[in-house]
């Protein structure tokens, strides 16, 4: 008797939790496949009948969304990769050496990660403008380092710390240089960390809104989040198309998540707490 009561006590809240978490996502997907006539009905129609690809056609062939998609892809990959190059060295330095100012430098990296973007948009705009980098890929790639670099340094430092120092000491005794040790011994061992950092940086830049809003104002340079936000004004809010575009934007993230859920979650967790 106690068991069935317990089952009910747990399965009811579990059902509510699942509905709350999943429903908006499902509603987006369902709406994306509805023709106009079924989107604007009272009462709402639960499922598209029959499902249509018209919204996707509209988004993929008659809007700027594909261009924004490519822009986002270039900027996200560029910034992720650039941050990774710098972060590998910095993280190794933080993890392996003790020096004066080390904890202050680490604290600074953490502050960089926590700092809200709105605090620096004005001067960054002035600097980018001065350098002629407004509305360029390079401009956003550099600015996005504010997001990706502290994060990558924090996460990778943790991974490098996880490697037994004895392994490296042995190589040093055998005559390897410090850089040789980093590239031949430590780096291959932190491959899971590199993957996690890459994914998390990609997601962070893919979703970024404020910098993109401020620094990429020309139609040719806008990123996907901004394109999506403007869809409503641009087309007098064609909700079917907005939902289809949302669907398209979520796809890469969903793929990353499906393939590497475990790593993704631990990465997000360490990204938030341990850096």
């Amino acid at each position: 008797m106690k068991d069935s009561r317990r089952t009910l006590l747990i399965s009811l809240p579990v059902a509510i939790l699942v509905i709350v978490a999943v429903f908006p996502f499902l509603w987006m997907a369902v709406s994306a496949f509805k023709p106009l006539s079924q989107l604007y009905t009272i009462p709402p129609q639960w499922l598209p009948d029959p499902p249509t690809l018209a919204n996707f056609k509209n988004v993929l062939f008659e809007s700027n969304i594909p261009r924004y998609f490519v822009n986002s892809l270039i900027i996200s990959i560029g910034s992720t990769f650039l941050a990774l190059v710098f972060a590998v060295f910095a993280a190794y330095g933080f993890a392996r050496f003790d020096f004066r100012g080390r904890s202050a430098a680490l604290a600074f990296v953490l502050i960089g990660q926590l700092l809200p973007t709105a605090t620096v948009i004005v001067p960054l705009y002035i600097v980018l403008n001065y350098l002629g980098l407004i509305n360029t890929y390079l401009g956003l790639i550099l600015v996005y380092l504010i997001l990706t670099l502290p994060l990558s340094v924090w996460m990778l430092t943790g991974y490098f710390r996880g490697i037994p120092k004895e392994l490296e000491d042995a190589a040093i005794i055998d005559g390897a240089s410090q850089l040789g040790v980093l590239f031949r011994i430590s780096l291959p061992l932190v491959t899971p960390g590199i993957i996690a950092v890459t994914l998390y940086s990609f997601v962070a830049t893919w979703n970024e809104f404020v910098f993109a809003l401020s620094f990429a104002t020309e139609k040719e340079m806008k990123t996907l989040p901004i394109g999506l936000a403007e869809f409503s004004t641009e087309f007098d809010t064609d909700w079917g198309a907005v939902m289809a575009a949302s669907f398209v934007m979520t796809l890469p993230i969903a793929l990353i998540f499906l393939v590497m859920q475990r790593m993704f979650v631990s990465g997000l967790m360490s990204g938030a707490t341990k850096g």
């Binding site: 747990i10 579990v14 939790l17 978490a21 999943v22 908006p24 996502f25 509603w27 987006m28 604007y40 009905t41 009272i42 709402p44 710098f86 060295f89 910095a90 190794y92 330095g93 933080f94 050496f97 020096f99 430098a105 502050i111 960089g112 926590l114 700092l115 809200p116 973007t117 709105a118 605090t119 620096v120 948009i121 004005v122 001067p123 705009y125 002035i126 600015v143 380092l145 504010i146 670099l149 340094v153 979703n207 809104f209 404020v210 989040p225 999506l228 936000a229 409503s232 909700w239 907005v242 949302s246 934007m249 979520t250 993230i253 969903a254 859920q261 979650v265 967790m269 938030a272 707490t273």
Partner: protein
Amino acid sequence: MTLRNISPGVWFILPTMLLLAALIVYPMLSTAELSVTDANGAFSGMRNFNVAISAPSTRLILFNTAYYVIGSVVFQLLLGILAGILLNQHFAGRSLVRSLMLIPWVVPGIVAAMTWAWMFHTDYGIINYMLMQVGIISEPIGWLTNPNTVMPALIAVNAWKMFPFVAVMVLAGLQSVPEELYEAVRVDGASFWHEIWHIMLPQLRPVLVSITLLLTIWALDGITIIYSITGGGPANRSMIFPIQIYVQAFEYFEFNRAAALSVLYFLFISVIIVLYMRVFAAQEKD
């Protein structure tokens, strides 16, 4: 001290530190300078601050910001803790439910915003329809256009978006609670609520302190959801501080005034960042 005496560690971190200094320290110093000068670069003392603070909308914006941050954090914590405790129980399909729960967190912020805006639609939104079916409301509510409902609606979106993060952290925290603690009180016939109140929550305290500070910082940074759904409207009723900075700078081109706002915003947020770093440092020591 010669170059050779410098630890190799310094050389490893130097490029990154220089880059971060250029991207963060320089802009912040520049913001401070802009905040005390006028459009021609002449020193103007506290004038930008005075103008920014005495603007008629400032009180409303401060109120909105506090409303949004407190509302978001409270509901994120509440939902997240409940979900975390629930997912720590044994039931069939637990790992699937754990994955599904992460959806709000994984979906891009702008996608969440657009989806909820559609769900909140006055005439064709599913939320009004469901509430009317159940009989909670008798006629459609303009959630995002009514000055009284716009903030609660936006807070709901933000709470939905971030509660899985809290749940994951709570879950991780609960998994490190030693089983003996539960057994000890179960012998005394303690109820489930007793376990939550006297074991789980005290054990989770350090985790909860640090995520509360993080959630506060993130909510203060919450431009994406609000800007893309309402743009701060109707009539500034959902305008929060960081969006005001953006609006002053890029819609009114009042860069100096925007810089003054940025300085105030930064001073406030740095208090929370310092608190967080102290908590963080204390936890690292353990």
